[in-house]
């Protein structure tokens, strides 16, 4: 089967190469002169011209309002700048930050490597396109500079100056009331009169925005240089690969921390707001960020170096596997920093893991013997009986047993039930024994780490900020996908029990509003747990997200399953494939390929829906911006700034995922077959 995938990949690569070649052959679209293009596309008829004018004005108005909002004197962006750490990691102790950097480093190494290992990395962006980017940035800056209203004039105390509607200035009294002081004494604003802010003149506003002008001209200059500097039309279709360009842009952004002071605000040890160069959030994070950038680039280069070697396939599998394990290892081992009780580890954990490895390995060795026949199933069923009995006993408290033993036993029973599928010669049998042992090592390692008291408060306690958003999103993606596949298969299954159960589950979950499910898990779930067992709020929210998302994923995947032609089923039956083989190797790959757009859509939806956590009392990204920053004494009511900021972060996350899915679709040729 490995051979098969390789061949499929090669076919894809070939297809892509063909597409690229065809693209090159295709004659360039005749480019119209600017005037004609405008006439043809924007003002072709009177209604069209009206729509063009109307929507241009609407866009300009919205743009102006946004700029006025962002740059208004009333905005207190330092509320966001000071709280950057709180927004992203909330109360994770600053002395333990290296753990977050290590986590990020692992993620970047894995993504860099897998990017490097991609067979085809696409054509990238044409110089023409890049030059258009620079033009649009430059033009939007110019329009923005001209559109934004002039700044407010301030008095010596830095307070805004006001005027009566007729233009005569207002002075400020100590109580904040607006008064005019003239020869006759003091007079108040008349009833229904509202004061105006005094603003500087248009000319001085333009000269105050000198730096913006320079940046705009610079962007336009680069755009023109790219457009005209490479004179001939051919060069305009010269491509720059996307990944190096992205890395370069990231590098530029990160290096900017070294020569520009991004965050102007920080707090000293006494908690007082300061703006000293050596105390900035940006400056304390610039070394890790720079290192991480190099890590990403190096990982990519390493991936590129490996891609043409024989090891590429194996490396890809290893990276995929590590990517699955990474969330658990980083969360439970790196971020929590478990404080191992070594006496317990030596006396219980290691012996138990060894016992299961050796004992289970023996059982697997015996059960994968092709000669064992029906007796194998008998033994496996007996094992399953014991495993289930252990759980029943736990529920009624008949005898004590380590949870880890109970789980390992269940896993063993499951492996034993499936063992006959792996029957074969000695080499193959040995492989399944090694597989079992490897699984046990991972399970016991993680179980031990998870079970140990932590030395750094894990997200369950610091429960806050972007970390929680990411944690829930990743948790949901990892668990809801397999569950969704199982549900989709169940719903399309020919076995009535599975079909009915899956259908009921999917329809019930899809028939309940998600927020209700979240509240249900936050409030009711303890009634379904054994006496005395308690779920952390974060865990129960994660389970709610998983169960909810799985029902929707199942429907998406079912759509994909139904798109697979009947002939595929018949052909695989004709080849004598078992149901498992048919589903795993023929049907699912095709079904999942078709379902990529809705699946990525579901992932993006989950990422955004994490903001609902704030409603069930968890301090997520939204809650920090929506209630925490406005609650701080210095930033009372500073809410709009934080909300706009998190909008930006959510958008960056969602948009890059959506871009990635578009890429994936192109690579896999979805919709082109």
């Amino acid at each position: 089967m490995v051979m098969g995938t390789e061949r499929l990949d090669e076919a894809t690569a070939e297809l892509l190469a063909n597409v690229a070649a065809e693209d090159a052959k295709r004659p360039d679209e005749p480019s119209l002169p600017f005037g004609e293009w405008v006439k043809k596309n924007l003002f072709s008829s009177i209604p069209n011209a009206f729509l063009t004018v109307f929507f241009s004005l609407l866009t300009l108005f919205a743009y102006r309002q946004i700029l006025n909002f962002v740059f208004s004197e009333e905005r207190r962006w330092e509320g966001v700048r000071v709280n950057l750490r709180g927004l992203f990691t909330f109360s994770y102790p600053a002395s333990q930050y290296h753990r977050i950097w290590i986590t990020l480093g692992i993620v970047l190494v894995l993504s860099g490597m897998s990017m490097g290992l991609m067979k085809s990395i696409g054509r990238g962006f044409s110089i023409k396109r890049i030059s258009m980017w620079f033009y649009s940035v430059g033009l939007s800056l110019v329009v923005g500079i001209l559109l934004r209203e002039p700044s407010v004039l301030k008095d010596a105390d830095g307070l805004a100056r006001w005027s009566f509607p007729d233009g005569s200035p207002i002075a400020r009294s100590e109580t904040g009331l607006l008064l005019i002081r003239d020869d006759e004494g003091v007079s108040l604003l008349a009833e229904g009169e509202s004061p105006l802010l005094l603003r500087e003149s248009f000319g001085s506003a333009m000269s105050d925005r000198g730096w913006w002008w320079i940046i705009a001209v610079f962007a336009l200059g680069i755009g023109s240089a790219l457009w005209f500097g490479f004179g001939d039309m051919k060069r305009r279709t010269t491509f720059i690969p996307a990944i190096p360009l992205t890395f370069g842009f990231l590098g530029l952004f990160i290096s900017s921390v070294w020569w520009y002071q991004w965050g102007h605000y920080g707090r000293d040890d006494a908690g007082i707001l300061i703006s000293e160069p050596d105390r900035l959030v940006a400056s304390t994070t610039r070394i890790p960020w720079t290192i991480l950038w190099f890590v990403l680039v190096l990982a990519y280069v390493a991936g590129r170096a490996l891609v043409r070697t024989e090891r590429a396939g194996l490396t890809r599998v290893l990276i995929g596997f590590s990517a699955l394990l990474t969330p658990f290892v980083t969360y439970f081992v790196i971020l929590r920093d478990p404080d191992l009780d070594w006496a317990h580890v030596w006396s219980t954990d290691i012996p138990m893991a060894l016992a299961f490895m050796v004992g289970g390995g023996l059982i697997m060795w015996i059960l994968t013997n092709p000669a064992i026949g029906e007796r194998g199933r008998l033994i496996a069923t007996a094992l399953m009986g014991i495993a289930v009995f252990n759980w029943v006993a736990a529920f009624f408290g008949w005898y004590a047993m380590l949870q880890k033993a109970r789980i390992s036993f269940l896993l063993l029973a499951l492996a034993a039930l499936a063992a006959h599928n792996f029957a074969g010669d000695a080499r193959q049998r040995l492989r399944s024994v090694w597989g079992w042992m490897g699984a046990m090592v991972i399970v016991h390692y993680l179980a031990t780490m998870i079970n140990t008291a932590e030395t750094v408060a894990a997200p369950d306690q610091f429960a806050g900020g972007f970390v929680v958003t990411i944690y829930i999103a990743v948790f949901t993606m990892i668990f809801s996908f397999p569950l969704g596949v199982i549900l989709a298969l169940g719903r399309t299954s020919r076995m009535p029990l599975f079909r009915v159960m899956s259908t009921i589950y999917i329809e019930v979950v899809r028939g309940i509003p998600f927020i209700t499910i979240l509240f249900f898990f936050a409030v009711f779930v303890e009634f379904f747990l054994p006496e005395g067992m308690d779920l952390a709020a974060l865990a129960s929210a994660g389970i709610a997200f998983t169960l909810f998302s799985a029902a929707y994923l199942a429907e998406n995947i079912r759509g994909g399953l139904q798109a697979v032609r009947q002939g595929q089923y018949e052909a695989s039956d004709a080849l004598g494939l078992t149901t498992v083989q048919r589903t795993g190797f023929i049907i699912l790959p095709q079904a999942l390929r078709v379902s990529i757009p809705p699946l990525v859509g579901a992932v993006i939806a989950t990422f955004k829906e994490t903001s609902l956590l704030s409603i069930v009392g968890l301090t997520d990204f939204l809650r920090v911006a929506n209630s925490n920053i406005p609650g701080q004494t210095e930033f009372l009511g500073v809410k709009r700034e934080g909300l706009l900021f998190i909008c930006l972060i959510y958008w960056i996350g969602s948009y890059s995922m959506s871009k990635y899915s578009q890429r994936l679709e192109k690579q896999l040729g979805v919709g082109e077959r």
Binding site: I386, P530, A539, T619, R623, T633
Partner: protein, 385 residues
């Protein structure tokens, strides 16, 4: 024949293995937690579930309930203290995510008294709905969470209340431009649009007060007080109402340059005594919590604060005893002799806390009900002897 013996061998192996695993389990269970009664293995033993893990600390408390809570906390080395998720001036996470405020400082003071270290503390932010359950399940030892002392909570809900640390009360805020002043009364708001946040007692209080006076008001409620305030600024509401402490903070920070706001009536329309809350029948722990508050008030009476407390160590009389001198009573309470010295030294006295967290919001201690009895307030700590 051969096959059959193989089968029995296998079965024997399986059972031996099962026994081994079970034995492993039970042996470690015994050594793991001596406090378990063994009846609840799902909870007491190891579990590889992420969720269970987070509750390990809580499990310990639950299992040993019935023992003395004070001793448990001292054995644990950490005080679990519940605060509001966000309550301006009382408990708000700062930019590093560390809770700061009047209430969280009382948590620190209690930790300093019981454990000698203000940082031997685990602050648990709780929503209003979660707070009492959190005490009952032992997730937190004490609440310093804007909790009003009421008859039903004291009896029916199963809580006990310590000395009030902040006397709050519901007040109203209106624009001076609409003809209101700090001398206005509730009767003056006839016909006004009154806004507050939904689902709280403030809503009920103002409706009852209006009924009582026979005036007509339009009551608008919003989910969030930020939205209430925004509506007030924009003119959608004539009057907003909530606890006085909240109104003062809003006025200090959000009053626009072209408006002036007034808070009235002078005597609030409801009584909201806020103080420490803990589970019933834990008198030794309750004593420690209560006397931490009293000690901070007594220190205030003597003018002893965080910066000058070292000058008063070894003083005569009540103050000397409180700071750990001859004849101190702290040892009998199960605390270190210098417990309250640590409170004042590490956290401060009552007015230190006020100056740190509430004064910046524009709340005046002088002349308010929260001032000491010697200054005409309601703070009247019992004598320390």
């Amino acid at each position: 024949m051969n096959n059959k013996s193989k089968l029995s061998q296998l079965l024997a192996l399986v059972f031996a293995f099962a026994l081994l695993a079970t034995a492993c389990g039970s042996s470690s269970d015994g050594e793991g937690d001596t406090a378990t009664t063994g009846d609840d293995t799902a909870q007491a033993d190891d579990s590889s579930d992420a969720a269970d893990d987070a509750d390990d600390a809580e499990d310990d408390v639950e299992l040993t309930q019935g023992d003395d809570l004070l001793e448990q906390i001292q054995a644990r080395g950490e005080l679990n203290c519940g605060v509001s998720t966000v309550s301006i001036g009382f408990a708000v996470a700062d930019s590093n995510g560390i809770y700061q405020g009047f209430d969280s400082d009382f948590c620190r003071a209690t930790a300093a008294a019981i454990l000698g270290d203000q940082d031997a503390l685990n602050i648990v932010p709780l929503t209003a709905a979660e707070r009492f359950t959190a005490v009952q399940t032992g997730e937190v030892d004490v609440l310093h969470r804007n909790t009003t002392w009421t008859q039903s909570r004291d009896s029916d809900v199963g809580m006990d209340f310590g000395p009030t640390t902040y006397f709050d009360g519901q007040q109203l805020m209106a624009r001076v431009g609409d003809g209101f002043s700090s001398n206005s009364t509730v009767a003056d708001i006839d016909g006004a649009v009154v806004c507050t946040n939904a689902g709280t007692t403030t809503e009920k209080n103002i409706a009852e007060a209006a009924d009582l006076l026979g005036i007509e008001i339009t009551l608008n409620t919003f989910e969030d007080f930020d939205i209430v305030t925004q509506n007030f600024i924009d003119g959608g509401c004539d009057i907003i109402t909530t606890d006085g402490s909240g109104l003062v903070g809003r006025k200090a920070e959000q009053q626009p340059a072209d408006q002036e706001w007034a808070i009235f009536p002078g005597a609030p329309i409801s009584k909201e005594p806020l103080g420490p809350t803990y589970g019933q029948n834990q008198s030794r722990f309750a004593d420690a919590v209560n006397w931490t508050v009293f000690a901070m008030l007594i220190a205030d009476e003597y003018g002893v604060n965080q910066s000058n407390v070292d000058d008063f160590v070894g003083a005569d009389g009540e103050l000397g005893r409180l700071l750990g001198g001859d004849g101190e009573v702290q040892s009998a309470m199960g605390l270190a002799p210098d417990a309250f010295y640590q409170v004042i030294k590490q956290v401060g006295n009552y007015s230190d806390l006020w100056a740190r967290h509430l004064a910046p919001l524009g709340l005046q201690l002088e002349g308010s009900v929260n001032d000491l009895w010697t200054n005409g307030g309601l703070m009247y700590p019992p004598p320390a002897r």
